[in-house]
Structure formats: C-alpha cells, structure tokens
C-alpha cells in the first residue's frame, strides 16, 4: 500500500525532475516552516519542501559552523553540491536566527532569487496585520517575478482548494492512525507524509485518497502496545521509524512542524490574502518558533496528549535548534506534573548510526510498559 510513497522518497531528484518537465513550472525550494504553499502554486510555481536531508556534510561546513542545526546545514549542502539544480528560487520564513542568516548566506553565495515571509513577533494584532500586508506584497512580487505569472483571485482559489483537500486528507490519515493504532506502521506513515514534500499536490492528494480508502476498510489490529506522541520541528530521520516499528510502539499523534502543525491548518482564505497568511501562520497549532501570545502551548499539548490516548511524549530534538530547546524543560515539567512521562531524544539529520537513539527509544518505551 505504501510502496509508491517509499518509492518517491528514495528517488527524490528523479521525482522532481519528472514533474518539473511534465508541469513546465519552475521549482521553488521551500525552507522550514509555514510558508503557505498556496501562494507558490497560485503564482504558477512547483513548490518542493526542504526540511533537511541526510547527505554527509562536507561542503556546507565551510559556511555553517558545527553549532548550526543539521536542517540548515544539510539544505546548504544540497545546494552547494549541485543537488538542487532544479530549484529556481528559495522561499524562506523567519522562524529562527539560523534561517534568517542562512538566507543572507544564500544571497551572497548563489544567484538564485530568495524571498522571505517574515513572521511578526508582536502581540499587537493591528501592527502585525499592517506589517504582514507589506511582507505578503513583497513575497508575492518576488514569486511572480520568478514564475512570470500573476497571482489572481482565481488561481489563489484553485490553489487554496487543492491544499485544503490535501490537509483534510492528511488529517484523515492522522485520524486513522489514532483510532486504529498499529494499522499503519510508523515508518509507512511518515513516508506517506514525506512523499508529499516533493510531489505536485494533486498527485499526492490522489495517492492519499486511495490509500485512505483502503485503510478505512481495514479493522484495527488488537494491540496493547505503548502509545506515544512525538513533538519537534521535523520528524526525520525517517529510518528511525523502523526502530519504533521493531519494538512495536504506536505513535498515535505528533506535534511536528512538518507534521501535524502544518496538517492542522484550515483552508487558506483566498478572498483576503493577508488574512489568509495570518491565519495560516498563527493558527491553530502553536509552534516554538512562532510567537503567539494567544495560544498557550502547554495547554495545547496537554490536551493533545490526552485526546490522543498517548501514554508518553518524546521530544524529538534536532540538535542546536534553540527555539525548541527553550520550550522543552517547562513543557516536560508540566507533562510530568500531570502524570505523563516525557523525554527528549537528540537527533541529527546527518546521523548514520542509530544505536544511541535506539537505546533511548527502547528505554523510554520499556518504562511505559512497566
């Protein structure tokens, strides 16, 4: 059932090249996180999401110190090695200090256009709105210059429908995973999500749709294995999910920036692009990287854990990701206070040896079983 998803993620460049030819649209590399893909689609671009990769880091180290996260280092590696030749321009957001400066590095090193959707960190709604208007205008101009096409009401409406359907399908898949624990292998689940980073959205939608149909017909296996929730910026390295599968624990929900935090977004408001972007960035799931005084991440996560039936939480921590690191101690304390075990597991996208991660996962899951 999941072969075609696995196929995509083991042949990323080929997949992108094929669709690039087929669609005749410029490929836009989308950096983490929350750049609304609708805008790119509506401008006639082919968005491809770059959440980091597992290339060995060689060239990127010339410009990014070892204390930068491997998400940033590996996307730079990809461009420097020529692995992103098909990418015509890069879309950034300002979610962290590393990415803000990374954009500057790109502008000095490469000729490809870059644009940044700066995410405001102010609590004053009026200032935020006014500022976002300026930002959105500059981003859409940048996009339109690359694609040579204008974003119209019509193209934005179409794009918004495609992505609304996409996220709805994602949410269905999340729902099946939660209500039928064990039916979807952890490794398969994340492969299905990850394939969507590279496929044209309509293609991925069709694949998800038929997958969901099949899954809906199947009954939940009987299992009393531990159920957990994972939280972090990215769910990679994907191979690690084989470890979860081996010890047969069920990830019943997640709070990944490239997982649920994105899947939970509602339909993009195409009638008011500024409202659309604001809603998209700030709602409904809080993120360590987005300052939003209107939502309390503690309450949010606690509710999520309870409603998912998870018995414990793993913070999947990309080493050197400061925004995530700041939130964790208080969040963990809060969860523990509520009787929910929680732990942090440190990962790097470039890692090739998973022994210590495996030990940590094992130890945590065994503790849940006691």
């Amino acid at each position: 059932m999941f072969d075609q998803f696995h196929n995509v993620i083991s042949n990323v460049s080929e997949t992108i090249s094929t669709y690039e030819d087929q669609l005749g649209k410029p490929v836009i590399g989308v950096m983490p996180a929350y750049f609304p893909m609708e805008l790119i689609d509506a401008a006639g671009g082919y968005p491809v999401q770059l959440w980091g990769n597992n290339m060995p880091l060689q060239m990127a180290d010339t410009y990014l110190q070892s204390y930068c996260c491997t998400v940033a280092r590996s996307v730079l590696e990809l461009e420097m090695k020529g692995g992103a030749n098909m990418v015509k321009a890069y879309a950034f957001t300002s979610i962290c200090d590393t990415l803000i400066n990374l954009r500057e590095i790109y502008r000095r090193l490469f000729d490809k256009p870059t644009f940044e959707l700066a995410i405001p960190s102010t609590q004053t709604a009026q200032a935020r709105r006014k500022y976002l208007k300026d930002i959105v205008d500059s981003v859409t101009n940048g996009l339109e210059n690359v694609t040579g096409k204008k974003i119209t009401q019509k193209s934005l409406k179409e794009a918004s429908e495609i992505y609304a359907r996409s996220r709805e399908l994602h949410r269905k898949l999340y729902d099946i995973r939660q209500t039928k624990p064990g039916l979807i292998k952890n490794y398969d689940f994340y492969a299905a999500l990850k394939a969507g980073f590279f496929l044209p959205r309509t293609e991925h939608n069709d694949m998800l749709q038929s997958l969901i149909q099949k899954l809906e017909e199947l009954a939940a296996p009987t299992s009393n294995r531990p159920k957990i929730l994972m939280s972090g910026m990215v769910f990679d390295p994907i191979q690690t999910y084989k470890i979860f599968d081996e010890i047969d624990v069920h990830i019943v929900d997640d709070d990944f920036a490239n997982g649920w935090r994105t899947a939970s977004k509602s339909e993009f408001n195409y009638e008011d692009i500024y409202e659309g972007v604001t809603e998209y960035i700030f709602n409904p799931s809080p993120c360590c990287c987005v300052y939003n005084p209107d939502i309390d991440r503690h309450d949010y996560l606690l509710k999520k854990v309870k409603s998912s039936g998870a018995q414990g939480v793993i913070f999947w921590y990309v080493k050197f990701c400061e925004p995530d690191a700041f939130d964790q101690p208080q969040l963990i304390a809060k969860l523990k206070q509520e009787g929910i075990p929680a732990t942090t597991i440190e990962i790097e996208l470039s890692m090739t040896n998973f022994d210590s991660v495996k030990t940590r996962i094992n130890a945590f899951c065994e503790m849940l079983e006691e």
Binding site: T62, Y63, L64, Q65, Y67, C68, S94, I95, C96, D97, T98, I100, N101, L102, R103, E104, I105, R107, R108, L109, E116, A118, P120, S121, T122, Q123, T124, Q126, A127, K130, Y131, D134, C288, Y291, P293, H298, Y317, K319, F320, C321, E322, P323, A325, F326, D327, Q328, P329, Q330, I332, A333, T344
Partner: protein
C-alpha cells in the same frame, strides 16, 4: 586594559544602580533585553534590569560555569545561548555576584538582537507569571525601509499603552522626550569616545570599551550616564592628545566582531598587548548608539529611535554588514580584523565565514575567525584560539 580613572566612577554608579534595583520597595522592576527600547520604561519610573549584563558579570567573575550547570540540570540544553543558561542558573540558585537579579514585574524583549530572546523571556514570563511585551524589530535584509520603521513606531505606541495600563498612570510623554535627549547625549559622548580610536596609537582598546559600555546599556536616559560618558570622553581625549597609546608600541590595529569572551578578558588583554596588537574598533561596543550603520532621523525623535533600534549591527543584512565593516577598517586605519564565531550567538555568527572572505577581499586586509563562546569556558580552548590568532597577527602588515 588601559588604566582610566573613570573606571572607579563607573563602578560607583553601577553599584548604586544595582543596590537600588535590589532594594527598591515601591518601584516596579522590568527585565529588558539589551536592545529593548528602555526609554519608555524609564519614562514611567520603572527600574530596568538587564539579564544579559548580569550574565556577563557572572562570566567575567568566573561564576558562569557553576550557574550554567544548575540550569542544565533543570533540563536546559547546552545548545542554548550561554547568557540565558547563566541567568537561568542564577535565577534558580539566586547566585552570581549580587545573588541573582530582583524579581521581574514585567518583561520587555526586542528581537533586534536575536529571536532567541523571545524564547528566553517566554520561559521567564511563565516562571514568574508576569506580562511580556515583545517589540518586534525584524531583520533588515534590505536595509532600513519605511515599512519597518512604521511597524516599529506602531509598537512603541502599543508599548506606551501597555506601560500605562500596568502602572495605572497616563504615559509620560514629556518625560520620554527628556529621556530620549539624555540618551542621545550620552551616546554622542560614547560615539565621540569610540571615534578617538582613529588616533594612532589608539588611546583605548576595545576590551576597555566592553567594560565601559555597561552604563550606556543599563543607565541610558539618565543624567548620571551623560556625566559619566562626558568624563570618560574627556579622559580618553587627553590620552589621545598626548598620543599615549593603550598599549606600548602599537604595531597592529584590529577590529573585533561579536561579543567579548567575558571569562578571558585578562588573558586576552595580556595576549594582545604582548603581540603589540591593539583592538581599536568593535561592532559590539558600537551597537549602543555608537557608530551607526545608518543615518538616523534626528528631527523626529520617535522615528530616530525606531531607526536606531532597528539598525543594530546584528540586525542588518550581510551587504550592509560588509559595507560597515569595510568602512570601519578604512576609517580606523586597521591592519586586520578578528571575528569571534560565538557558539552562543547565532545571529551574530552564522554566515561569518562568508563575511570574512568578502571583507578581506574588499579591503585587502587579513581577517580571522576564531571559534569561542562569550560565556561558556567549557567550549573554549586557549591553545586553539591563540594559535590561530598568532598566525593571523603574523600575516598582518604593521601599521607603520
């Protein structure tokens, strides 16, 4: 480091300041980031307290490691800025040179130095259950734009309302204007003082300025601060006039980029002196209304204020950083530049290797990047850093 008489004055006013902050019964306490618009806070008679300054004090007095270890035990990762870790540790244990900072009644953070501070202050806001006001000063990828200045000014208005609500008093606009003027006056002395570094030999070195910048951070907007910088300026000007160099036989003149290595001030000072290398300009010391990267609007104080908070060196795009660094290298007759790749401070450091390449190419002056940290001696190696610096110093042509 140079023996300026003013240092005792500085110690005196800093002590007075901390004593008041620690003992006040009636005035509220605000914790602020070093780049936050303190002028508004001062206008409402709220005492500003600077966790960054305190963290630096802890490191300079060699107490940062034990404090960071306390924070790390509570789960704060070694990956987060060492200032934050030092302060968390000091707050948990009420440790450090003055046994912790007085508890905050409110928090004000500005993003012009980093996004990290919004995370740091959220942790504190949750711990003490006090309000946090974030003044968003976005990164200037493409220089100072009207949109950004307006955005910042709108938030100043909101900050005024926030402070008025908090204190249940109308916002003191007239007082604010006085404070802005006092702040400008102090920074103009600071700026004049820093410009004296153009004298050959330089009458001070940047390690001095790292020490002497404390009042411009914490006491900006007060008469005391103006008086202090006037005194410092006059003293340094006298040195300059008499051509007394901060180090004997100044041979090399370099710029220091990024924060100091607070726990190595003495050793660094001796090292550079021995090599006859004077640090004469520093982007960090320039950041407090010193030598600005942009022209500021002096007719409209609000606008000028917004511009100066936005235009902090650490908040500007690489094109502007390169231009600014090159300008300093030329104006200060520098023979080279040192960039401190600071593990704690990503906004200041990420991209530095590229900046070094470009600035060297543009100015023809050698530059070096050293790997260190402003507050965490555990990730610092004397041997490694000094070997690199020695090679760099040898590669420079001497000034005369």
């Amino acid at each position: 480091m140079t023996d300026f008489k003013s240092i005792s004055k500085m110690k005196e006013i800093m002590t007075e300041y901390y004593v008041e902050a620690k003992t006040t019964k009636e005035k509220p306490i605000a914790w602020l980031t070093s780049g936050a618009p303190v002028d508004f806070v001062n206008a409402m008679d709220i005492i500003p307290v600077y966790p960054e300054n305190y963290a630096a004090m802890c490191a300079a007095s060699h107490q940062s490691v034990e404090l960071m270890e306390i924070a790390e035990k509570e789960g704060f990762s070694q990956d987060i800025c060492a200032y934050a870790r030092t302060d968390f540790g000091a707050d948990i244990s009420q440790g450090g040179p003055i046994q912790g900072l007085p508890k905050p009644d409110m928090l004000i953070a500005s993003t012009n130095i980093c996004k990290t501070v919004t995370k740091w202050y959220q942790v504190i806001a949750r711990k003490y259950n006090v309000p946090l006001f974030v003044v968003d000063t976005p990164f200037l990828h493409d220089g100072m734009t009207n949109e950004l200045v307006n955005y910042t000014m709108t938030q100043f208005k909101d900050l005024e309302n926030f402070l008025a609500d908090f204190t249940k008093r109308p916002f003191a606009h007239e007082r604010l204007e006085e404070i802005i003027m006092l702040g400008l006056e102090a920074s103009s002395y600071w700026k004049k003082m820093l410009s004296l570094g153009k004298t050959i030999p330089s009458p001070f070195n940047s390690l001095d300025t790292f020490i002497h910048l404390a009042p411009i951070v914490v006491l900006r907007g007060t008469q005391k601060c103006v008086d202090y910088y006037k005194m410092l300026y006059e003293e340094v000007a006298e040195f300059a006039e008499k051509k007394i160099g901060s180090i004997p036989d100044e041979k090399y003149r370099v710029l220091w980029d990024n924060l100091p290595i607070w726990f190595k001030m003495r050793r660094n000072s001796e090292f550079f002196e021995e090599k006859k290398c004077s640090l004469v300009a520093a982007t960090y010391s320039n950041s407090w209304g010193g030598l600005d990267a942009f022209e500021l609007d002096t007719k409209d104080p609000y606008r000028g204020l917004a511009q100066s908070y936005l235009g902090a060196y650490i908040n500007i795009g690489f094109e502007d950083r390169i231009r600014y660094l090159s300008k300093l290298i030329n104006e200060f007759s520098l023979t080279g530049f040192i960039m401190h790749s600071n593990r704690s401070c990503k906004p200041y450091s990420v991209g530095m290797y590229r900046l070094q390449e470009e600035v060297s190419k543009l100015t023809g002056k050698p530059g070096v990047v050293i790997e260190a940290d402003q507050n965490d001696p555990r990730v610092y190696s004397d041997a490694q850093v000094e070997t690199r610096l020695e090679a760099f110093i040898e590669s420079m042509e001497s000034v005369n």
